[in-house]
Subunit: 220 residues, 4 copies
């Protein structure tokens, strides 16, 4: 990544550029492109995650990120009898709600098994499976796409489950690539302002877009 | 689209190219790029669909197509009390199975309402909603991406619901852009061979990949 | 686009949503997503441009925008004898430099013709053509991608020729879609800050990224 | 990659799937997805290339591949005085043509230096640089995108310079990932038919698209 940054502005060979780069210079170069927002060089590094224990409600959001590659356990081909599930924290904190939730899961399991036992295929029996049903994925994304993912999904306005997932993913990549991900996170943390406008949670002040009348006055 | 095809090989102005193109020539040019597989020009035309009455099982597959733009009714913000649902044909043809399926849907509706009434937010109550729950989307894709979508999702091996959706979408675009979509469909129909190898349904003969030992022998 | 914005948060049918949207509400909804940065709905509208009179130096930058579709006049297949060319303004303001520049173009034309006359194909003769050589393209991009293009290429730090092109393209789309493009432009104009950090031209104050030690302290 | 293939059809944990995969099984699984055309899993592996000694004529084609990441030596910021260049083989085989070509390059170098010496910036002086001028890039692409690149750019109809580049890149990746790239190449080599229709070079027989009247007759 650092070699690529340097290449753009250098007359030197790629090999020589690479040899000349010490750890401090690599760190400095990466911080610079992060600060300047020159993110394209971040695409040269990609990361692959094994993800388990998230719900299909969460995976439906996850696969909306198009700058990433997904392989997901298929409910068409894998029998989900006795499936595991996620419980929302708002439900988990109330014993009676948890009981009802578990009952709903149990009923879904029973319906699913009934259909399977009646000869219905997994791909059709799954129509009774709840959003809470656990799924597994292998996901690959480059550093640029991950920074965008963390910015969107670590925001307090993101849904709790994908926010938890994003936090775990960030911890993993920070361990192996601290220079790239040191400042990763929602706008309020990485850049000091809120990108959510009137829907801001208040942790940082939103930026407003400039009014029409002021637009393009200064362009020469 | 036809102007773009012609531009690549012409010394003329864009305006003059466009004026000189009659309906027959447009048809001929589009058929030629379809035959040659020079699909990039097909990206200049895009199509927007309003989609209703498909299940979340289907939409989870639909949004995997990354060369498209999706706006989907949110289960985080929209209350799904009394939701509608899709029934798989394999279940629909058996009265007893339909009864059980409807009962499963009814139970899910009740659990959902209980959680909503207990003050749980829509985004958390939805964890009990089944895959069958209906959703709505507005989808935009260009002609190249749609041809790929039709090739994959009109195959007999595609899941029944997204295959039905693809068939309806193809009928719509064929009406407004017959030149582009005349030959759209799975490989077996548009190209006369099967792309599914050993998993072929048998409608057409699969092509095999050439064995290692023969590879690159002829490259000069 | 406005229908798509509304759909995400509505229990209503797509047709009914669309019917219920007056011009003022459309305007309000689009301004809201622009302010919130919820740009995905902007992908439903795309725009096709016929571009002539730009240099290959400019088109090499243009085609780096990957969220767009390009059809370009081919130097492999179209004979460039007597090609037209762009002159940089810094050269154009000095008579003697213009004379030298025109002489360089004339020499390139002659070499090109010599190779063509010697039976060399256009695709090989073009190796002597200068970056200044004019080219033609048909380009399609959606509104989200165009906003990104205008942000990057209308910055004072962008190269003069692609900046001129971006300005002309913005004028065109503003005419047909004023709601979407009213505030389009570089960060300094549309959002009031500079995204170029230490390389800022000074029209607006850059935002700094937050230092490591402060990162993620507040995340709960 | 093999773990991802297996995950889609397995009820097992990702860790256990991975542990259970021997070299033979990995090879078998990868050959299977290549044969079935289930290419999405190929996106989990990406490859980064340092490329030197190609012309800007070649790089303009290279950067048209949008499923890849590019960092290129900038002619805006790097002085190109005394630039190196590519010579087309059709010119190289004739002594007199080579002499003329070298003269054209020498003239371009002189004009470039004149402009630089007159105080013109590199980004403007470069307008006189020829397509033949050498450039350097760092390019990253995943295996799926590379297979597509090799299919298009190893075809005999591809331009000679990008075809040479593709051949060198294929040799590199075949060394480190022989399972994935064993059968890579143009259609005629990897699949035994030609994808270029009426423009075929004749190495293999083209497939024809099916005529309208036969289309979609069989779809049930």
């Amino acid at each position: 990544m650092a070699t690529a940054i340097r290449l753009c502005y250098s007359a030197s060979d790629i090999g020589r550029i690479r040899e000349g780069l010490g750890a401090d210079e690599v760190r400095r170069l990466i911080r610079k492109v992060l600060e300047l927002g020159h993110f394209s060089v971040l695409e040269h590094a990609s990361f692959t995650f094994g993800i388990e224990g998230i719900s299909r409600a969460c995976s439906h959001q996850l696969v909306r990120h198009r700058m990433a590659s997904f392989s997901q356990q298929s409910q068409r081909y894998v029998k989900m009898t006795g499936f595991e599930f996620s419980i929302p924290p708002s439900i988990e904190q109330d014993e009676e709600l948890v009981r009802r939730f578990r009952q709903a899961m149990e009923e879904a399991r029973e319906h699913y098994s009934e259909f399977i036992n009646a000869g219905i295929s997994a791909e059709d029996a799954r129509y009774v499976l709840p959003n809470a049903t656990e799924t597994k994925l292998i996901v690959t994304a480059n550093a640029r796409s991950l920074l965008n993912f963390f910015e969107l999904r670590l925001c307090t306005r993101a849904q709790w489950e994908i926010r938890q997932l994003a936090q775990l993913m960030l911890e993993e990549v920070r361990r192996v690539a601290p220079n790239i991900f040191a400042t990763a996170g929602p706008c309020c943390e990485s850049r000091g302002y809120c990108s959510e406008g009137t829907m801001s949670c208040g942790r940082a002040k939103p930026l407003k877009i400039v009014e029409d009348r002021e637009v393009n006055q200064g362009l020469t």
